[in-house]
């Protein structure tokens, strides 16, 4: 038991200090536990074959399928239309949608989906980003509590309960509680938003009006440099043209056979080359006149490569934990690495066009990228550093498969609801169905899986087993119960939920669930409370992560919203208290605890 407690203490310590990635900590635990003889080798690796891991793999594949067919992204425009121009309506429409998506997809994906759209709304309607983003971000987290596959702790719950031989929860058993939480969260911001959300303050003189940022209507044009272009002048680079005219060279053809898409900033523009450029027409005309270039009336050399069917622009959000964080586009050699051209950089409610190569990137920065659809599509599929928010309009975007994507989701849900088949089997059926009907290939399915999450879950499951097996959970549970003395079930649920809230703020939500579910079940058994309710309280309350910007969604929105930690504390405390009150009330009403 001492070894288990020591391992737990070490794991918690490593989760807090983050000297090692948390998934690596989980793998270390998975290996260390059988070496210390705390679990059998079979038990140590049982997490990898657990229903929780299979379920999360299936959920990710189904999410990827929905994403690939553009089904989810197609929601953005109609939702924005419904949202109108009032702050409350915008918050409500986007939050409800994000919560709904979040209940079946990863929260971070749902949160990133609307980020650029919110930035545009903020700029257009002059509503501060800080008034919009936090409600939507919190809704993405709350939406994860609406189904048993909405967030990792709930996916994990049935597996952790299995060793206590407790009846598993169904996919929609938590929906009433989750829906109430989402409703309460949105209502809280509508009613209390003006007090708990930060207002952007400009230092004196406050009277200085926020400037109206000009919208640059950009398009693709073709230019040709004459034979004497380089005579008697300093060398001209792609970066020079961008800095002088805010025009981006997206392709360059130099006879006889040199052709480059997304040329690097340092590429020199020689005589007799054709340039495919992206920028406002007037800026391109000015460039052509001042630099002595010939502006072609229509695309000629690039007639095939730069048409709307072949290439275009997308917006991509810099993800939390991205390798690009705190580095500049120049440092990572962005054009070389990604083969697409960065056009602009959106941060807060501003859009940068000048010298974006040297701006250190932050979480939530929105990069507008231009490139061939196929290349953008590949990035969308394979790169985890950027979250693509507008569906790449690629040729191989399988819009025609949207029906099958929706069908297999419906099949999986029907199997769960009507036939009461085990959740992991139903979800994997949906995932396999999508592969069979070619919504996505099996390789695309493999690539879509977030192995970090898989190993985090699989690695921590044996720790939960060891905690129970060695009696450590029972020992801690008795200690806690003795500490709080005889109490009513509702107070015990509140204590468990508070513990889960605290743990999820300092260690990962998965870690908190694995450690607390055995503990909570033991406490419940010892005090006569329904152990399933105790486990459910942990599974739900580990989503109560609003006070610190530690949750991925909060981290994503912190930069763009211009929030500081104290902004999260202010709104987060209110939200956390509300979360606990609504959750316990709903559990009382539904399950009569």
């Amino acid at each position: 038991m001492i070894l288990v407690l020591g391992t737990i203490a070490l794991a918690v310590f490593l989760f807090i200090v983050e000297w090692i990635r948390i998934d690596v900590v989980a793998i270390l635990i998975m290996v260390a536990l059988p070496l210390m003889g705390l679990v059998t080798p079979v038990e140590a690796f049982s997490g990898l074959s657990s229903n929780a891991v299979v379920s999360i793999i299936a959920v990710i594949i189904i999410g990827a399928g929905l994403d690939k067919t553009g089904l989810v992204n197609q929601l953005v425009k109609p939702v924005l239309k419904v949202a109108g121009s009032s702050t409350s309506r915008i918050i409500t429409a986007i939050s409800v949608t994000v919560a709904g998506i979040s209940s079946f997809m990863q929260n971070i994906g749902a949160a990133a989906l609307f980020l650029p759209a919110i930035q545009r709304i903020s700029k257009k309607l002059k509503i501060p980003m800080s008034k919009l983003l936090m409600p939507v971000g919190f809704s993405a987290i709350l939406g994860g509590t609406m189904t048993l596959v909405g967030c990792s702790p709930l996916i994990l719950l049935n597996d952790l309960m299995a060793q206590f031989k407790l009846e598993p929860f169904g996919l929609f058993d938590v929906t009433p509680i989750g829906a109430a939480l989402v409703f309460a969260g949105i209502a809280c911001f509508i009613v209390l938003g003006r007090w708990i959300l930060p207002s952007p303050k400009v230092e004196e003189p406050d009277q200085v009006e926020e400037p109206e940022e000009e919208e640059l209507e950009a398009d693709i044009h073709e230019l040709f440099t004459p034979p004497d272009f380089t005579h008697y002048r300093d060398p001209v680079t792609v970066a020079d043209l961008r800095e002088r005219y805010l025009v981006n060279v997206v392709a360059l053809v130099e006879p006889p056979d040199f052709k480059v898409v997304a040329p690097a900033s340092t590429t020199q523009v020689h005589s007799g080359v054709s340039l495919g450029v992206f920028g406002p027409r007037d800026a391109i005309e000015r460039m052509a006149a001042e630099e002595g270039m010939e502006l072609q009336e229509q695309l000629d050399v690039f007639a095939e490569d730069l048409t709307d069917q072949e290439s275009g622009t997308v917006e991509a959000v810099v993800a939390p934990r991205s390798d690009l964080l705190d580095r500049t586009l120049a440092e990572v050699k962005f054009e070389d690495r990604y083969q697409v051209t960065p056009i602009s950089l959106g941060r807060h409610d501003e859009t940068f066009h000048s010298d974006i190569d040297h701006v250190p990137l932050r979480v939530g920065d929105v990069l507008t990228l231009h490139g061939p659809w196929k290349r953008l599509h590949y990035l969308h599929e394979s790169d985890n550093n950027l979250l693509f928010t507008l569906q790449v309009e690629v040729e191989d975007l399988k819009k025609d498969k949207a029906f099958f994507a929706g069908l297999w989701l419906a099949v999986a849900l029907t199997m769960v609801i009507v036939f009461k088949i085990h959740l992991s089997v139903c979800l994997m059926t949906g995932a396999v169905g999508m592969i069979l009907t070619r919504v996505l290939t099996v390789d695309e399915a493999y690539n879509a899986v977030d192995w970090r999450t898989v190993f985090l879950l699989a690695g921590l499951i044996p720790l939960g087993m060891a905690t129970e097996k060695t009696g450590a959970a029972a020992w801690i549970a008795n200690g806690v119960l003795q500490g709080i003395g005889p109490t009513s079930p509702i107070v015990l649920i509140a204590v468990i939920a508070l513990l889960a809230t605290f743990f999820t703020l300092v260690i990962s939500n998965v870690g908190a669930t694995v450690l607390l579910v055995p503990l909570a079940i033991n406490m419940a058994k010892a005090s006569g409370l329904d152990p399933r309710m105790a486990a459910l309280a942990v599974g739900l309350a580990t989503s109560n992560s609003f006070i610190l910007p530690t949750h991925q969604v909060n981290a994503l929105y912190m930069g763009p919203g211009g929030y500081r930690s104290r902004d999260f504390m202010k709104a987060g405390v209110v939200m956390s208290v509300l979360f606990l009150v609504v959750m316990i009330t709903m559990m009382y009403l539904l399950y009569g605890i």
Binding site: E209, F352, V359
Partner: protein, 270 residues
């Protein structure tokens, strides 16, 4: 068609050489006129500008940014003048104030210490020791000024295109060498260098307008696209952005303006 900056130590005959060069080439000879113009335009007493351009900043001044703002105003006035070409500037620090422009011929006039001491002894009626001490103090002050504000040593010969030792050259000879150098192809004003000059002028004008209330700003310009680098926080950056936008009607040539917060400015920014 070029711009000539003449940097000199005190009593090195630099002024005489500059005037001779201007006369030979028919150029405008500038020094105090720049201070006067800056004084008028930015409503700062000339004496304060002169002190800011001459005396090394005290410890207290280094903490504040008033001196930097005065220097920015003088630089703005200077760049406005030299953008018109055909100028000889022999005021303080022309070689650092007009960086990154290829048609600027940077000249340094030096003289050996004995020669300078003898001039001071004659003009100021000082003893040899007093004169030596006086010159050393002035040299030290100028060195510290340039080092503090621009991070370079004014006696570093690599900062200049031409260094002339006055006792070896008579004033007329030195002027002749400078005039011939100014005719060289590499110092001719080209379309590129003229554009760089206008960019520098625009950046200096924007910096002069912003620096009084915002110490931590650096400005660059490329073809009228002005980029303000602001070291302070986001909120302060918004304020700088709003102020910069308000400058647009008052400063000719701004096409687009952006404020980048927390980004290290490039060396070319002023």
């Amino acid at each position: 068609m070029t711009v000539i900056t003449i940097s000199r130590g005190s009593k090195s005959m630099g002024t005489a050489v500059a005037e001779q060069v201007a006369e030979n080439l028919g150029y405008q000879c500038l020094s105090r006129a720049v201070l006067l113009e800056a004084s008028e335009q930015y409503d700062i007493p000339e004496i304060q500008l002169a002190r800011a351009m001459h005396d090394a900043p005290s410890l207290l001044e280094r903490l504040g940014h008033r001196r930097a703002s005065y220097v920015a105003c003088v630089r703005a006035a200077l760049t406005r003048h030299v953008a018109q070409d055909n100028v000889v500037y022999h005021g303080h620090a022309g070689h650092v104030l007009l960086q990154n422009v290829s048609h600027v011929l940077k000249v340094r006039i030096v003289a050996d210490m004995d020669h300078r001491v003898s001039i001071v002894m004659r003009e100021e009626k000082m003893s040899q020791t007093e004169a030596l001490h006086h010159i050393q103090k002035l040299d030290k002050g100028r060195k510290r000024w340039t080092k503090t504000l621009f991070g370079v040593d004014p006696t570093d010969a690599t900062l200049y295109d031409l260094v002339l030792n006055i006792p070896r050259f008579r004033v007329e000879d030195a002027a002749d060498v400078i005039c011939r150098s100014a005719q060289l192809q590499q110092f001719a004003t080209t379309a590129d260098s003229a554009r760089n000059m206008h960019d520098l002028q625009l950046a200096c004008a924007v910096k002069a307008a912003l620096v009084e209330t915002n110490a931590d700003v650096a400005v660059s310009s490329h073809g009228g696209n002005v980029l303000v680098y602001c070291g302070a926080g986001e909120r302060h950056g918004r304020k700088v952005k709003a102020l910069a936008e308000r400058l647009r009607p008052g400063i000719e040539g701004i096409n687009h303006i952006e404020v980048h917060v927390g980004v290290d400015p490039p060396r070319s920014a002023v």
